[in-house]
Amino acid sequence: MKKRESLRKSVWTIISLVTLFLIWYLGSRNEELGRLMPDPVEVLKFIAAGFVAPIGKKLLWEHILWSLSRVLIGYVLACIVGILLGFAASWFKVGEAVIRPFYLLLRSIPSLAWIPLAILWFGIGEKSKYFIIFITAVMIIMTNVMDGVKAVSPELLGVARMLGTKEKQLFVRVVLPCAVPQIFNGLQVAVGSAWAAVLAAEMVRSSEGVGWIILAGQSSMNMVQIFAGIVVIGMIGLLLALLIRAAERRLCAWNVRGK
């Protein structure tokens, strides 16, 4: 029964993807629309060719690795800082009073707005790119960590205290495991946003990366290249999200198993 259901779901997914591809394909044949959209077959060819012949100075997979390494560094930093600050700003009263105002001030600033500052502070090298990705991800992670901690029910804490749990143990034995699903949710959303921010990060002068592919496509009016960059960013983003979800399924089996 379940197997059949999932089979049916994947059939629909495939139908929807094929339909999108067909619409795109037919649309690009149309004279008017064709000027706005390249032939998808051309785009796929461009992507395939990118693995053999360099786009700009590098092969496509090298561009992808460059971007991934930037995202990875910014994202891992954001995870460490975001989780620590998130806990500090929600579990400890003093931490909340000190950190929360800054959080509230900074969280609604879009990542693009950080670009000028990032350049002034870190120059046009790699550091400013890490910073832009970091600042995008860290806010999302903090938000989710704080929500997760705040959602721990006071009754549950009361019951645990009654059983003799000391305040220090309470964090490790109750608050932390209770907040884990929400934290994972944050990590997942953040990895998507961090990857999306790669374009913003690579707008700060670069000569490689998938964001650069799009920007270079824009300056050379190469629509096929722009679309190829978009498709690649989309695909990698999807893979990253799947990766985090797989990790969650292994680490928080208790939250998934019942469903």
């Binding site: 009754e155 019951v159 645990a160 009654m162 059983l163 003799g164 143990q169 495991p177 019942g258």
Partner: protein
């Protein structure tokens, strides 16, 4: 009541939520090894009392003492069962039951023995490796009850613990509670709105008034055990308590 030690003392207990006076100057004692049932109309502040006792709420005035001192969960062996399930969702049934035992650093052998005993008692042996999200509400509540009983607490606080269970199981767990109480000499404070349950279980029954809550009357209930709900004296006592609740 004259002999024995006072286990819990409530002295002039008053609790306000802003303007709303919920508990109005309540004083009473619970003796060591006693089984006290608290009954009262719905929303009269029964749960508020327990939340004050367990320090979930700050007390506006007065104090609650356990063994003559403010409650100390590291020293006193206390278990608390809430109305709603408070199972830890990231732990299996078995691990939930062991939570208190682990916190109290029970030796491994005893931990294992108690776990088996409790799984058997609430009929969850087959489900020991299930997570709470996979269980029904009744099974969740049984898990929580097993967790609370497992430590053989000296003070057992129960807030309508059986409300979610079907009748059959409720009767069985009421009997098990009495057995546990007789076996371990624990002190029990049991909150319920079910008069029959109170008369079936309690040694004393404390009837509360509507808000602002005061103690209406404390009735001694020394019917022989096991009690028979069809017994004449049982029915008489049940009616007496029902009357007290009805005419506030």
């Amino acid at each position: 009541m004259e002999q024995g030690k006072r286990k819990v003392q409530a002295k002039n207990l008053t609790k306000r939520f802003g303007e709303l006076l919920v508990l109005d100057d309540i004083s009473f004692d619970v003796m060591e090894g006693e089984f006290l049932c608290i009954v009262g109309p719905t929303g009269c502040g029964k749960t508020t009392f327990l939340n004050c006792l367990t320090k979930l709420y700050d007390i506006t005035n007065g104090e609650i003492l356990v063994d003559g001192a403010p409650i100390n969960c590291k020293k006193n062996n206390i278990s608390y069962i809430l109305q709603e399930s408070s199972a830890m969702e990231w732990l299996t049934v078995e691990q939930n039951i062991q939570f208190g035992l682990g916190i109290k650093r029970m030796p491994a052998g005893m931990k294992k023995e108690r776990t088996e005993e409790m799984l058997e008692l609430v009929g969850l042996t087959e489900y020991r490796n299930y997570y709470p999200k996979q269980l029904s509400i009744s099974m969740l509540q049984r898990t929580v009850i097993a967790r609370a009983f497992a430590t053989y607490p000296e003070l057992l606080l129960m807030d309508e613990p059986y409300g979610q269970l079907d009748l059959d199981l409720r009767f069985r767990l009421e009997d098990e509670l009495v057995k546990l109480w007789q076996k371990t000499g624990t002190t029990v404070i049991f909150i319920t709105h079910n008069v029959e349950e109170a008369v079936y279980l309690g040694e004393r029954i404390m009837v509360l008034t509507n808000k602002p809550t005061k103690v209406k009357k404390i009735i001694s209930c020394n019917l022989p055990r096991p009690r028979d709900v069809a017994d004449e004296r049982f029915v008489e006592m049940r009616n007496e308590v029902t009357e007290l609740i009805r005419w506030w």
